[in-house]
């Protein structure tokens, strides 16, 4: 498969991914499995690797699929294709914002959108909590939470509250504690 085709396919995926990496999965599946790049079970493996390694899932998937079809240059073109729509669109929006940031309509829009963005981050926090400490889909029932994970949560939360050191240290500490605790 030519590098230009790889770039074009991932450009299309990047362009139609709206609202998070998970939204890209059906698209990726359609392009990669439907297009005969990888088999269905290879796709599942790729997804598992992409979710359990550092970096955005969409970028990991692009790198992996690109590497499978054309080695290292393939992973570079796939990743470049995936980020190109973001670069173009966001630079245009950022240009616009730098001229119109003080316009009353832009200010009103942002004053509504900011609290909503916090709500979205809170939802992300809830999503991670329900996948690590509470172990359930949406709202907590009774007695269905992981005691050791909850203990680790309390310890890390207390440490963070007291020290406020770099988030990276907590990720490392969490990973290390997880190996011995679970």
């Amino acid at each position: 498969m030519s590098l230009i085709t790889i770039f074009a396919v991932f450009f299309r995926i990047g362009l139609f991914t709206i609202g998070g990496g998970l939204a890209a999965i059906p698209l990726l599946r359609e392009e990669l499995v439907g297009g005969g790049w990888v088999t269905g079970s290879e796709f599942i493996d790729m997804l598992a690797v992409s979710q359990s390694t550092p970096g955005p899932i969409g970028i990991n998937m692009a790198t992996y699929a690109g590497f499978k079809s054309a080695s290292f240059l393939g992973s570079l073109s796939a990743t470049a294709g995936m980020v190109a729509p973001s670069l173009i669109i966001i630079i245009l929006i950022a240009r616009f914002m730098s001229h119109f940031a003080d316009h009353p309509v832009v200010r009103s829009i942002l004053s509504g959108v900011r609290p909503a963005a916090i709500g979205l981050i809170a939802a992300a926090a809830w999503f991670v909590l329900s996948n690590s400490v509470f172990l359930m889909e949406w709202f907590p029932g009774f007695g269905w939470f992981d005691v050791r994970a909850f203990g680790l949560f309390l310890v890390l939360a207390f440490a963070y509250w007291k020290t406020k050191t770099y988030p990276v240290y907590y990720i490392l500490a969490g990973g290390l504690a997880g190996v011995f605790l679970f």
């Binding site: 990047g14 709206i18 609202g19 998070g20 690797v49 992409s50 979710q51 390694t53 550092p54 970096g55 955005p56 899932i57 969409g58 970028i59 790198t63 992996y64 990743t79 995936m82 980020v83 729509p85 973001s86 670069l87 966001i90 950022a94 309509v105 200010r107 009103s108 829009i109 942002l110 004053s111 509504g112 959108v113 900011r114 609290p115 909503a116 963005a117 709500g119 979205l120 981050i121 809170a122 939802a123 992300a124 991670v128 909590l129 690590s132 400490v133 994970a149 680790l152 939360a157 963070y160 988030p167 990276v168 907590y170 990720i171 500490a173 969490g174 990973g175 290390l176 997880g178 190996v179």
Partner: protein, 193 residues
């Protein structure tokens, strides 16, 4: 100029390297590096970028990186930040694709990930509380935050209709506010700490 581009690349390399288990953890790290340590952008600006990154095409983490990079150093800044963000993926995934494609089945890796998810939950919870304290002012803003939270977790909406409704509410209160020249909801983008 070059120094700051290298700084942007390094910061986003670090963020990409430690964005484990989904892009969520990016926000606390970005906030620490950009708002708290360097004061390069304000909390309000970071929230604006995050909201726009959600509602536009592309991967949220990449959109946010592009936005922050552009804000600091124009087009080259956008490129430096985005390149930094994807470099760890390129290196790590390439190594995995060559050597061990069944890494995720390793029980030690799985246990480490359970611990990392707990740490990410801690970081996100503190970020939410601190952002609420600093930027959410007024009953309407609290209601929008709560509505967005419930819209995602309870009603299962996607972020885009939620952000669009919040934008419309913002415009409506803006119009109402100008009529009685009352204060607007939310915060003004003046980087208040």
């Amino acid at each position: 100029m070059i120094h700051e581009l290298i700084d942007l690349y390094k910061i986003f390399f670090r963020i990409g390297l430690f964005s484990i288990g989904g892009g969520y953890v990016m926000f606390p790290m970005l906030r620490r590096e950009m708002v708290e340590d360097r004061a390069w952008i304000s909390d309000e600006e970071l929230l604006d970028y995050y909201a726009i990154a959600q509602a536009t095409p592309g991967i949220i983490a990449i959109n946010t990186a592009t936005f922050v990079g552009f804000k600091r150093r124009g087009v080259w800044g956008a490129f430096a930040a985005t390149a930094g963000m994807v470099t760890p993926s390129l290196i790590i995934i390439t190594i995995i694709a060559i050597f061990f494609s069944r890494l995720q089945d390793n029980p030690v890796v799985q246990r480490a990930f359970r611990g990392i998810r707990v740490a990410v939950a801690v970081l996100l919870s503190f970020t939410v509380v601190s952002l609420m304290k600093k930027t959410v002012r007024g009953a309407l803003a609290v209601m929008i935050s709560a509505g967005a939270f419930l819209g995602i977790t309870w009603a299962g909406f996607s972020p885009i209709p939620i952000l669009l409704s919040a934008a419309v509410l913002g415009i409506l209160t803006g119009i109402a506010g100008r009529k009685k020249s009352a204060e607007t909801i939310g915060a003004d983008g003046d980087g208040a700490k």
